[in-house]
């Protein structure tokens, strides 16, 4: 399958995503430049982490105006798979592809540490190789990762089962102590209503090798591969 990873000015993790997909999984990956129009065929687009435009304004608000984003929105509207990680999640929220917003961490400090995530839904293209209730160990590293949405949006998210990952403790309980940034309802990752756009604050690309302390990030990427293969089969 073909992956596109978008580089915005200030992106930091595009190479990490590229290396994880290419070196660890042998996937076909292309780095895309934000000033270009989106051309060519892709099965999944990734908006990586980093500090697009330095995050000097609200995180992600400048990147949504990059020329390539027109194509990304269209790609998503046509059912294409889009994954936003960290700053990518923020860009997806700013672009209106995902509901809610990511605001300053409750502790007011940047936070970098390993966290546990409980998989809340495994019937998405991004989590289908996991089981509901399973724990994933991935790092977070952000200053503005506190998920916020108004009560009615939050209700919609719950009703439509769009909350995909929640911060949990080692026993799988989504406790306040396990929440690194004060996110509402311990939310770490959500998808859109049609379940083809997924945003998450933790970094799967930093957890794809035994040397890095966790290989759980591979489960997110291999889920995407599996769902794409499935689609191929169905279309055949």
């Amino acid at each position: 399958m073909r992956w596109g990873v978008i580089t915005f000015p200030g992106s930091c993790d595009e190479q990490d995503v590229y290396d994880s997909l290419k070196r660890e999984m042998g996937q076909k990956v292309k780095l895309l430049w934000h000033k270009d129009e989106l051309t060519g065929h892709f099965d999944c687009l990734i908006l990586p982490g980093g500090f697009s435009y330095g995050d000097y304004l609200r995180c992600g608000v400048m990147a949504r105006f990059s020329p390539i984003m027109r194509g990304v929105v269209k790609f998503a509207q046509n059912g294409g798979l889009v994954l936003g990680i960290c700053n990518g999640f923020q860009i997806l929220c700013e672009s209106g592809l995902l509901p809610g917003a990511l605001v300053r961490n409750a502790g007011l400090q940047f936070v970098c540490r390993q966290v546990f995530l409980r998989v809340e839904e495994s019937d998405t293209p991004f989590t289908r190789e996991t089981k509901k209730g399973q724990l994933l160990k991935l790092p977070v590293k952000h200053g503005e990762g506190c998920y916020y949405a108004d009560p009615s949006t939050l209700e919609q998210l719950r009703k439509n089962r769009q909350i995909i990952l929640r911060y949990a403790d080692a026993k799988g309980k989504p406790s306040p102590a396990a929440n690194p940034n004060g996110s509402l309802d311990n939310i770490a990752g959500i998808c859109n209503e049609t379940r083809n756009v997924f945003g998450m604050m933790p970094h799967p690309e930093d957890a794809c090798s035994q040397f890095l302390g966790s290989e759980d990030g591979l489960k997110i990427f291999s889920s995407i591969v599996a769902s794409r293969n499935d689609r191929e089969t169905r279309h055949a």
Binding site: R23, Y53, G54, D206, L212
Partner: protein, 744 residues
């Protein structure tokens, strides 16, 4: 040049007072008159002032720095460039350097620390290396000093704010608190980058007619005379110098980094250098100096952030995120195309000449014409008077019989573990991204950080170390111990040293006692480097770390980089499995002089630091390395601050998983507090499966390393028979909250 009057900017008349305010002595001014054969212009006075400042010229230290060993089979670039470069095999090399940003960080902690990180990152990517790991060594005043929490929070946020945004992980470091830094904190920033061995760039200007291109941020009035400030002592009123602190823009740095690395893939660059201290002046004259060329600049073409700037200000500005490069003639458009892509300025502002002069024009008039060598090679060098401090004999006197051994050694251990110097530093490093670039194998909190080298089986280990109390009590021994501890930290993760970078932080070189400390520290570092066969490949000297005539302790900090040939063999400090045997490599002696215990519990900074036998040190390190290579060890941890007891406690509670207990039996015939808290060097605590014990014994015997089986891992208690026992969870809690409890 004499027609400066016709140009549109103010030119103060040169007076003795003006010369003095530029930090130049009357003798230095006479030397300038002799070199030029005339009075300098105001702009030239500024140029000499920064280039001859201690910060840029190393005029007091150069004589001693020559003593350090700088060569080795793997060294591709030693001191004198923007960073040192060492061969790591597989066609790859690493560039690394450490630099101080002490004074700016004390005046404005967030921006001071942030721009310190920015500067060191540029030193690395200017060599053609992509920065992949940073560390830092931080020293603050007493934790109870009213300014300390503010300075600590600001510095940590600044380091994180800059490094995180540029996408370079901060993988390790050290944080210490001591009253001697109350009025002068230390912020030393280290960065390592990786590059293809065949593609090393240097700061050189050559090829007559080649264009000199300015890239990056525009020039403003910030940081003018920053280099001069770094070459003076502090006093209360110097805090008024706030405008000389630069402001960082990590986003522009990130663009500059990517643009430069992209350009380096093309065949355009002759030489490239960061505009760091003394900005455009030092970068252009140093590049010309290395190339044996001249350089001609048209200052009217420099992109400016504000209007009305004078040539003096343009030449001396220390605005951040700027680089100067010399390109091959004819490649100007290619250079511009790449910088356009990244939305950055790239402007031809001059050319390389053959006259070996540094010349600058402004609005058509020549404002500077100085021989390049006058600014580089011919800058003053001093062999300043050195004198052994009058109080050192008294300081070294320590009568242990007058030091009462605590009755409750368990309580003493708790005090040590909860003290800010030993307690967990997670509050600090969780504000740094230590995962980005997805290479981090051992994150902050271990003896050394370890990163993988993608595409190879190798790993790199990195550490920064310093112990200024030792250096204060005996600078020679302190210098030796600093280098030895850094190498030992690398040995504990299984890495063999490749090279050193250092930051030498001292008081005023004009004080003979400080100069003596400096000379002794260098002598100690040299002896340790020679014995352990580690070359010094880069570094920086920071003098004038004093406030109102009170010097800091002499503080050399050493950044050491090591190579793990087989990353899969890497070992961490923490106990892994109940039932594993605990072994002490090396020997504990009754050495409490200069220890953390003596300072914290008895309020004494006295005695001589522990003695070190470099042959034994090397044998202990080799034993640990060999055992790791053979896959015998489950953990290895250096013994340093707080001694054996603290080190063992860290093995139990420092890991990412649940704490493990240990049961230790000791039979040493020394007093209990010395057994627990003595800081004798050349010791490593290791754990291993019992079945491997004979193999370790054989190895230790072969290498003549003293080794003792001292206990077994397991249980929920921390027991050192017959001296103390405690629940391991309690130790963890005290250690984990020690720092945060004091910051409230």
């Amino acid at each position: 040049m004499r027609d400066e009057k016709t140009t549109q900017f103010a030119q103060p008349t040169l007076t003795t007072a003006l010369v003095a305010s530029h930090g130049l002595t009357p003798e230095e001014y006479q030397k300038i008159l002799k070199i030029l054969g005339r009075e300098p212009t105001y702009t030239e006075l500024g140029v000499f002032s920064v280039m001859w400042s201690e910060h840029c010229s190393y005029k007091s230290s150069r004589h001693y720095l020559k003593l350090l060993p700088t060569e080795g089979p793997r060294v591709l670039q030693g001191p004198g460039e923007n960073a040192g470069v060492v061969d790591i095999g597989d066609g790859l090399a690493v560039a690394f350097k450490m630099e101080s940003h002490n004074h700016p960080s004390f005046i404005e902690p967030y921006q001071g620390a942030a721009t310190g990180v920015g500067g060191i990152l540029r030193d690395i990517f200017t060599m053609g290396a992509r920065p992949i790991a940073s560390l830092n060594s931080l020293r603050f005043g007493s934790i109870d000093h009213p300014r300390t929490p503010y300075l600590l929070s600001g510095v940590v946020a600044g380091i994180g704010g800059y490094g995180n945004c540029v996408g370079v992980p901060t993988v390790g470091g050290e944080v210490y608190f001591d009253e001697c830094y109350n009025g002068n904190i230390l912020v030393n920033a280290f960065t390592l980058g990786i590059m293809k061995k065949k593609r090393i760039f240097t700061g050189i200007a050559k090829g007559v007619g080649n264009p000199v291109i300015y890239v990056g941020s525009k020039t403003g009035r910030d940081g003018i005379h920053g280099a001069t400030m770094a070459s003076e002592s502090f006093s209360e009123e110097k805090e008024q110098r706030r405008p000389t602190v630069q402001v960082g823009d990590p986003f522009t740095e990130k663009l500059l980094l990517e643009a430069c690395l992209e350009l380096m893939e093309k065949d355009c660059i002759v030489g490239i250098q960061d505009m760091g201290a003394a900005g455009l002046t030092s970068s252009s004259s140093e590049m010309a100096g290395r190339g044996g060329s001249g350089i001609e600049l048209d200052l009217s073409r420099v992109p400016l952030r504000e209007s009305g700037m004078t040539p003096y200000e343009i030449l001396l500005s220390e605005s951040q995120e700027r680089m100067l490069l010399v390109a091959r003639k004819g490649t100007e458009d290619e250079v511009k195309r790449i910088f356009d892509k990244w939305d950055l300025d790239a402007v031809v502002i001059g050319q390389v000449t053959e006259d070996r002069q540094f010349r600058a024009h402004f609005n058509g008039a020549e404002v500077v014409r100085v021989p390049i060598t006058a600014l580089t090679k011919e800058a003053p060098v001093y062999q300043r008077p050195a004198a052994r401090p009058s109080n050192i004999d008294e300081l070294q006197q320590l009568d242990l019989s007058a030091v009462q051994e605590p009755e409750d050694l368990a309580a003493t251990l708790k005090l040590l573990l909860g003290s800010p110097n030993i307690a967990l530093k997670e509050w600090v490093y969780r504000q740094y991204d230590h995962f980005v670039r997805s290479n981090t194998v051992i994150a902050p909190g271990a003896d050394a950080a370890v990163i993988r080298v993608k595409g190879t089986q190798k790993g790199l280990a990195l550490t920064v170390d310093g112990n200024s109390r030792y250096c204060f009590l005996d600078p020679y021994v302190g210098g030796v111990l600093t280098v030895a501890e850094a190498a030992r930290n690398l040995a504990c993760v299984g890495a063999r040293p490749l090279g050193i970078t250092d930051c030498l932080n001292f008081g005023s070189p004009e004080n003979p006692e400080v100069m003596w400390q400096f000379a002794e520290v260098i002598r100690g570092m040299r002896d340790a480097c020679m014995a352990l066969k580690v070359p010094v490949v880069s570094g920086n000297v920071s003098f004038y770390n004093e406030t109102d005539s009170k010097s800091i302790y002499p503080t050399p900090t050493v950044g050491m980089v090591g190579l793990l040939a087989k990353l899969k063999r890497v070992v961490t400090p923490w106990f892994k499995f109940p039932g594993n045997i605990v072994v002490l490599l090396g020997r504990t002696r009754e050495e409490l002089g200069g220890s953390e215990y003596l300072k914290l519990i008895h309020g004494l900074v006295k005695g001589t630091p522990p003695w070190i036998d470099l042959k034994l040190e090397q044998a202990v390190q080799n034993c640990c390395l060999e055992a790791i290579d053979r896959g015998i060890l489950r953990s290895a941890h250096d013994i340093s601050d707080g001694g054996l007891a603290v080190s063992l406690a860290e093995c139990c509670i420092g890991g990412p998983d649940r704490p493990l207990g240990v049961r230790i039996e000791t039979h040493e015939m020394i007093r209990g507090d010395a057994l627990l808290f003595s800081e004798s060097p050349s010791r490593i605590v290791v754990s291993l499966e019992e079945k491997n014990l004979a193999r370790l014994q054989e190895l230790a015997a072969e290498l003549r390393v003293p080794m003792h089986v001292i206990g077994t891992v397991g249980g929920a208690r921390f027991v050192i028979q017959p001296l103390l026992q405690l629940p391991v969870e309690e130790l963890r809690s005290i250690w984990a909250h020690g720092l945060t409890a004091r910051l409230k």
